[in-house]
């Protein structure tokens, strides 16, 4: 039986840990476009997004040993690394330049044609994610998007949406609960990354 893509991700990380540059290149080829898209979505700047992408893969090269499969999938780990570096950059820009703010209204509901370059497992995962997010109540989706793409704190979301702090916390919790219930069975099935 061939390895599932998820197991392959972990196998690649193990090889990177053993200083195998080809394994890092394979991970890069698999996820660079996805991570670049996320960094560009948050930062709104291609040059900065490429810098973040490079930082993330250098981090993987140097710290592959810190990957902990118990804390999430390889893809989730890479996405967290990409997002946190991108959010750090926009937080240093605040309050003047918040590129992400201008992009809130143009989140695509359908896959970009370039997504078709991704492997089928990734496409399937993305389709599932988009469907799961589309099913969220709008107020939960908004709270999560403000936190995820703009790095806003719960207090900032509360002020921005004129919503009580407790309500924001509840929306974030309920939104992630629903998403995990939709996505977790897929990840546990080994089709992708867990």
């Amino acid at each position: 039986m061939s390895l599932s893509p998820g197991e392959t991700d972990r196998a690649l990380i193990a090889r990177v840990e053993a200083r195998d540059a080809e394994a890092l290149a394979a991970l890069y080829d698999r996820y660079a476009a996805r991570l670049m898209g996320l960094a560009q979505r948050i930062l709104g700047d291609t040059g900065e997004a490429e810098e973040v992408l490079q930082e993330v893969f250098l981090f993987v090269w140097r710290a592959a040993a810190t990957f902990d499969a118990a804390r999430g999938s390889v893809l989730a780990w890479l996405l967290v690394a990409t997002r946190s570096r991108s959010i750090d950059r926009i937080r240093t820009r605040r309050p003047a330049a918040r590129a992400g703010l201008t992009q809130m209204d143009r989140i695509p509901d359908k896959p970009d044609p370039r997504d078709l370059e991704a492997d089928s497992a990734t496409r399937e995962w993305e389709t599932l994610c988009r469907a799961a997010i589309a099913e969220l109540p709008p107020e939960q989706r908004l709270a999560l998007e403000l936190a995820y793409f703009e790095g806003l704190t719960h207090q900032e979301i509360s002020r921005k949406t004129s919503t009580p702090l407790g309500t924001v916390k509840t929306r974030v919790r309920l939104g992630l609960m629903k998403l995990k219930d939709r996505i977790r069975p897929y990840l546990q099935g080994g089709t992708h990354g867990s």
Binding site: R15, A18, R19, D20, A21, E22, A23, L24, A32, A33, R34, M36, G37, L38, Q40, R41, I42, A49, E50, L53, Q54, L58, W61, A65, A70, R71, G72, S73, L75, A76, L79, T82, I107, P108, D112, R114, D115, E117, A118, C129, R130, A132, I133, L144, A147, Y148, G151, L152, T153, H154, K169, T170, V172, R173, G175, L176, M177, L179, I183, R184
Partner: protein, 258 residues
């Protein structure tokens, strides 16, 4: 502390890397206490949050980025399969393989140690970051009170068992918070703490417990007391450790708004 929905809310925020402020200490203490539910939820929430990345269209980076990355990696171990050796070389290949196994074992040990060091450093950095966040949150709270345009200063005088005690309260009705600065407080027996009370509509509202330092000084910041529209007076009593909902012990400080 028992698991609750509040911990799940904090796990959700943590999964999104949202700074938890003062609640950070509570949440990580809860995790250290071994809450398996929160530990599991944190991982699941992280995976769930990553779903939002699917909303961002994939963008191919320029080929130069890949080239630059791979060129910057430094020495790497080749992974290509070596050609099958001739019969004459098999003994040498066997020796080389044995040496390679030894090298891999040593390298594995080195990587394990490196991993442990990295994990230790990560934990230390995380603690420093949490402390910095707590300090920042505490300073922000002080600013909320001290920079409010309705801040008042109220003087509290010693009473009963501690006539020499003195205190000031900086209070803002808008912020619904206060800062108490006290001196000459006597040390208390174990199991006792000082408790601050805010009087509103003639009734005492508990505003938190505190301990003075060895010199009898205390700096205490009350939590936000949302039920109070306007503070009328303040008092400090000696109560069982952890505080009580209504005063039971002797009054040691009391004051009047100036």
């Amino acid at each position: 502390m028992a698991h609750s929905e509040r911990h799940e809310e904090l796990a959700a925020l943590q999964a999104l890397s949202v700074p938890l402020g003062e609640e950070s200490e509570e949440f990580f203490a809860h995790l250290r206490d071994g809450c398996a539910t929160c530990e599991q939820l944190l991982g699941e929430f992280r995976d769930a949050a990553s779903a939002f990345a699917a909303q961002a269209p994939a963008v191919s980076p320029r080929p130069e980025v890949r080239q630059k990355l791979l060129a910057s990696l430094g020495p790497a171990r080749a992974s290509a399969v070596p050609p099958v050796p001739s019969r004459a070389l098999r003994v040498l290949v066997g020796l080389a393989a044995a040496l390679m196994l030894l090298f891999i074992a040593m390298d594995d040990l080195r990587l394990r140690r490196q991993r442990e060091e990295l994990q230790s450093q990560t934990a230390q950095l995380s603690e420093h970051l949490d402390k910095a966040r707590r300090d920042l949150a505490r300073n922000n709270l002080r600013d909320v009170v001290l920079q409010s345009d309705d801040v008042r200063v109220l003087f509290l005088g010693g009473q009963g068992p501690q006539p020499g005690a003195r205190a000031k309260v900086f209070w803002s009705d808008k912020a619904k918070r206060g800062i108490l600065v006290a001196g000459n407080l006597a040390p208390l027996e174990p199991g006792k703490q000082y408790e601050l009370w805010v009087f509103a509509q003639g009734k005492p509202v508990p505003a938190g417990v505190f301990d003075p330092d060895t010199a009898g000084r205390a700096l205490f910041e009350s939590p936000e007391l949302t039920a109070i529209a306007s503070a009328e007076n303040f008092a400090v009593t000696i109560e069982p450790r952890g505080g009580v909902p209504a005063p039971t012990g002797p009054i040691v400080l009391v004051g009047k708004p100036s």
